[in-house]
Point group: C2
Chain length 398, copies 2
Amino acid sequence: MRAFGSDVRKPTLVAVVDLIRERGTVSRVELAEATGLTQTSMTNAIRKLSEFGFVREAGKERISRGTPRRLLRLQPDACYMVGVQFDRFASVGVLVDLGGRIVIRRELPVVGARDPDEALPELTEAVSDMIDASGVPRTKVRGIGLATYGPQDRDAGVLLTPQPTPAWRGYPLAATLSDATGLPVVIENDATAAGIGVQALGGASSSFAVVFMAGGIGGGVIVDGNPYRGATSNGVELGHITVDPNGPACACGNYGCLDNLSGPRAISARALAHPSLGSRLALGEDELANFLAVGRAGVAGDADAAALLETSIRHMATAAVTLVNMFDVGEVVLAGGAFTGFGGRYRDAIQDRLDRSVFVRHVHDVKVRLAERPEDAAAFGAAMVLLRSLLEAPGSAG
Amino acid sequence: MRAFGSDVRKPTLVAVVDLIRERGTVSRVELAEATGLTQTSMTNAIRKLSEFGFVREAGKERISRGTPRRLLRLQPDACYMVGVQFDRFASVGVLVDLGGRIVIRRELPVVGARDPDEALPELTEAVSDMIDASGVPRTKVRGIGLATYGPQDRDAGVLLTPQPTPAWRGYPLAATLSDATGLPVVIENDATAAGIGVQALGGASSSFAVVFMAGGIGGGVIVDGNPYRGATSNGVELGHITVDPNGPACACGNYGCLDNLSGPRAISARALAHPSLGSRLALGEDELANFLAVGRAGVAGDADAAALLETSIRHMATAAVTLVNMFDVGEVVLAGGAFTGFGGRYRDAIQDRLDRSVFVRHVHDVKVRLAERPEDAAAFGAAMVLLRSLLEAPGSAG
């Protein structure tokens, strides 16, 4: 079995803030040991973070011998970030403080089948309401991280997909939302955002993968502490790998895609096509709600619902083996609102398959777990993405 | 369409040597522009390389205005590296000079079903004979790069697989070969080695994937100029992702693996099971030779052979879409001896599938091509891996 190293490749300020958040208080010696930073880099980082008001002294730690160590902690109310995860069927907003606490959380309006000109004003208003309701002063809110599906042009802040309507492709998403709210906006892939959220909470391996399921299925990989991005930040499209070569054609151009066999829309459609399941479970038009109803009924013992849930789990386990065999990670984290209530079923079945089928299983363990609050992971992570963008351009962080 | 950046993240000396090799001669100005290195880093790099005797002045370039630029070039005979690709059914050795020229090339003994104590002395002798036959002085040969299948512990120089016999698992492969030859030995995944070889020849995208097929099928990814390694250098196991959930169980623990549906062993077994194909093509015990015979016959018009070849190509195209959707690369390069003679069929079919099915096809092109000398790519790359290990530990390079 191999050990996994520390997150030495994270940007310096991000690594320091994440570590203090994870541990609560730390001494400079602990920080240096855990991050691998040189004394000079660390001193500079702490000086900058102190200037921003992000970090402060928090008393001294008495250790057995030698001089007591001065401890550092975050100033949680130094700044706040909005995190939004939104797609066609699921949207969540959170306001997060520097310490990583979710101050307020809201279900937000979903995209549905609407054009951006219709969906975005509603989203803007809901975000604005959420900030007002939190009681946090506007001046302390530093921006919005927006996690959604791809393909995206992250730098430009636009989606490159014609889903759900052609008007979304190339629409100035970040710029429009920024103009409407007066806040900086960064966009991020939802599964990658969930990974960054999991990482910011601490305790994850330095290399892990995320299986994200909300309105659709996506994937994210954190390797040696940093998100895997590929050539254009559009990698790890887990929902659109073939898991059955005889499966249906997908709007993405591929066929037998995981999303079309395991995802909420696919399972909802199969439930509605069933002679009695739809009426038995009182299914409606919301495909994510239908999926959640099927999953709950399956767990509760409805045989027809259980069969659909099993199908979803089986294909996802196949994809999870592919994900690990491709990226060689030590952990798989399940995140997204579609795991709510019965994510444990997916976790256990995927763990069982990985234990038997992963190529590197004799080299190192690969553990599967549910994210803490899986339904908020991507929104929380999106807030952390915004924080990172501030920390990586430190001139703007003060 | 997005542009792909330069290889800014390569280790400095590697980036400089690769660039001079690619261009033949370069000025310091060109080097700085192409590598993105600072003036100081570049001056230091060139000084070190000159001390090693790797780089020398090569006259001046007269440009329209200003002082003529002094040109640099490699000193090709400054050092030589052995590259070996070996597996159960295919083994190739090359001796490569600093300029990237293959001085000599040999087919080497294959592993077959033998224990390391039997196979390695034969390999050692064959490598030794190859060096002698090249006429290159032993003192100029700096080491051996050994490319083979996984899982591996690269740092320790051991294989972590019980294939083909239990004695291979944990056997001190690099140390044994080093003791026997008196040369430093580094090991590398064969597909990753092929990627490094493709990169060293120049002209590749900064982010590309390799589909490697020799005795088995593997994958490699170069992203932003560096190999993707994952947690333990055992990523991109393309041969062991499921391409058909109803496919056969694999020795790796997974089922419906690409290698068991597309690879030389699978196609050889199916050809031998055919009522007449085995005798018609005079197939024997060498599974790679059988595969090559089937491929050639398929291209020449034998309908039964063509059907087997088509099966192999179809599954590989499915896997190639997965590879690109996972890693978001701009290019896929086919390498390995099993593409010899009919790699163009794979190339064209995979290109067609990527054009129709890849998730990012509206974001950027993804081009498929055959490696130059596909049968030598991994061995050549293994020699470059050895060179890189010298350059990354510059104290040992002189």
